[in-house]
Point group: D2
Chain length 90, copies 4
């Protein structure tokens, strides 16, 4: 199962914004901007990625675990979610 | 003070890789790929951004706090670091 | 629904270990140990709490979302999980 | 170098509060309270440990890096900080 069209547009525009932030960070590094500005910009990108990841995980929980067609599919999606959470709750 | 040229090239190529991962994630969303693949891809981006942020913070500690020219500059860079850490140790 | 007895014993002993680490950290602070040792000890506690949290969340996903008796209960537990994730994916 | 007395008292009382939260979590697990309540309680402990860790790191930056007596000591403390940050920015 994949994402609904409405969600797709929303997610895509958030990704574009994050790519824009990363481009700005890159320009700042190349231009020799103050280190602190660069660190701060990258820290914002990190926050934006976290927010996006959370949203994609929310969709996964609602659509692929709670609303799955069979218990077996729910269990598979549940284990997938656990794997993802393991990779960043450290 | 800003980053050395060698570091700049290294940082820039890492940013480009992360942008490439985000583009792949976007394509996956648009193509309707399996949710889990997308979540995993975005989780990798998150890890890559964290690694890059850590590296930029390391430079900041070594070059702008430890090796600062005056105590006053060290103190300013120290407070900047604390602000950044506050934004993501939550 | 709550945790199985076997899980309870395992979780309880992990909590006791973390409390032991926090007591050691407190003694280190009171004894005036090297700051670095203390920071390191507290950073280990943090890792241990994260590991425990992950385990409790895994139980929650498997027992209360995937294996819930009704779709309504699964949905409630799913929203609870999302709330928890929101509190620390920042 | 170690922490000032005033800071010690403050840190100690925060540790005691966190231990209290962990004891409450343990009681909740033993009593078979709702999973969600337990997850939430543990998530609060995690937040409290993060806040404390941040404070100890702030002291480390200000007292042991910025205000260190020699450049050599500042460099050592800087590397210690980088090691700690590496352990949890993942």
């Amino acid at each position: 199962m994949s994402h609904t069209l409405k969600n797709k547009v929303k997610i895509t525009s958030r990704v574009n914004r994050i790519i824009g932030q990363l481009e700005a960070f890159k320009k700042g590094i190349e231009a020799g901007d103050e280190c602190y500005q660069n660190v701060n910009l990258l820290s914002s990108c990190r926050g934006a990625i976290n927010g996006l990841l959370l949203e994609v995980i929310e969709d996964h929980i609602r659509e692929h675990i709670v609303d799955s067609e069979t218990k077996k599919l729910a269990a598979e999606s549940g284990e997938e979610l656990i794997d993802v959470l393991k990779s960043f709750i450290k």
